[in-house]
Symmetry: C2
Subunit: 204 residues, 2 copies
């Protein structure tokens, strides 16, 4: 079983291996990979052996096969469909980010309650009214949802999308969602990240 | 010594206590606080006793004094000054977010290399050209920087701001910054968060 920090590191190795692939490098070793993500070489070797990848002594790892193996473990081979609920300032920025597509995530649709936003296209995604949520989710069957609505609305929206089969929520509203434990929720609280940064500086 | 997950939880307790304050509630207990952030009551009690806050049996915690104590531990009492480098889609959204101010962080200035953006005001922050970075940082002496430039530029910009006294960087560019260990760096890789979510669904 992989811990959350280990999964986070695998995803960073995956990102750096793809950067190496783009630059034409075919092999790497745990020391170099460690330097790319600011961890020790021992941590890299432990993470990779926990998913069954052992480097060849003196040669290291083949970049392409290691990237493919990590991708399979992380589920990047699978084509994930996501929807976004709430296309305000943050939603608008996230819809234009190419980083999600590169990992195999496609934003199938976006929804908002603001009549002025309906039928606009942001990035390559069309904004639909919330009264089409049910029809679209039954048809498209996305696994994931990105929640970028105001905090006060987050709970109600989360309940709605879980009821329509969403299995995982990436929540940006600074509030705790209480949904069925069968649904995976990852919270990104950006103000709390800045607070963590201040704490680290204060405690040196 | 507080671990990173514990600091993260304290920041969530802080958020929820302020929500209680806003609604006029004066006391709470570890069971209620636990439910608000989806952890067990035992974890709450352990976290709070590690910063010297012990509830009174049967009465619990005084909301205001607990919030103030956690705020002091997290450094929220101190007035932190931050600058932003790179005001594109993501920077534009973050400059409009009120969540940072509420925790005592003020965005003193924002910088960009795009001439079309210079002297625009976003939220309440004016966008300045990069050739004013040195003058402004020497005058304002911000401790923190939010980095929202493209990955290819992140390293060069990070070196510049560290050279001008920045002590902490909140980095959104999906690349690892190698700066002096005296500087605190927190990386937010949103694509990797989505990958974590997919991993959790795939591994149930
Ligand atoms: N702006 C940021 O950079 C930032 C940073 C951190 C966290 N957040 C959080 O992310 C969320 C979005 O922030 P924002 O700045 O984009 O806010 P915003 O007000 O600009 O956008 C919210 C959007 O949600 C829509 N909406 C409201 N209720 C809805 C509902 N029930 N169903 C569907 N759509 C609905 C609104 O019409 C609007 O377009 C908030 O919870 C905020 O606290 C934002
Ligand atoms: N858009 C998103 O939601 C999102 C999500 C996750 C991560 N990111 C990451 O955040 C960063 C910003 O993303 P974005 O979508 O806002 O990109 P963007 O291209 O819209 O904005 C980048 C801004 O940085 C400015 N810039 C470029 N070089 C600079 C330099 N040397 N000094 C100062 N300013 C400079 C540009 O003029 C532009 O305004 C990128 O690294 C991206 O990978 C963005």
């Amino acid at each position: 079983d992989l811990s959350t920090p280990a999964v986070g590191r695998l995803s960073l190795y995956y990102r750096e291996l793809h950067r190496l692939l783009d630059s034409g490098q075919t092999s790497t070793n745990s020391r170099d990979l460690a330097a790319m993500v600011n961890v020790s070489a021992a941590v890299v070797r432990r993470d990779l052996s926990s998913i069954g990848s052992v480097g060849r002594r003196g040669v290291g790892y083949d970049v392409e096969s290691l990237a493919n193996h990590i991708g399979a473990v992380l589920g990047s081979g699978v084509h994930w469909k996501a929807v976004m609920i709430g296309v305000g300032y943050l939603g608008n920025a996230l819809l234009r980010y190419r980083g999600f597509e590169r990992l195999g995530f496609s934003l199938a649709a976006a929804f908002d309650t603001d009549p002025a936003k309906i039928h606009q296209v942001v990035g390559s995604t069309k904004i639909l009214p919330m009264d089409q949520l049910e029809t679209v989710l039954r048809e498209v069957k996305p696994e994931l949802a990105i929640l970028t609505v105001p905090s006060e609305q987050a709970k109600e929206v989360a309940d709605k999308i879980v009821g329509l089969g969403i299995q995982g929520i990436l929540n940006f509203a600074p509030t705790t969602l209480r949904v069925s434990s069968a649904v995976a929720v990852i919270n990104v609280d950006l103000a709390s990240e800045l607070q963590q940064l201040a704490f680290r500086i204060q405690n040196g």
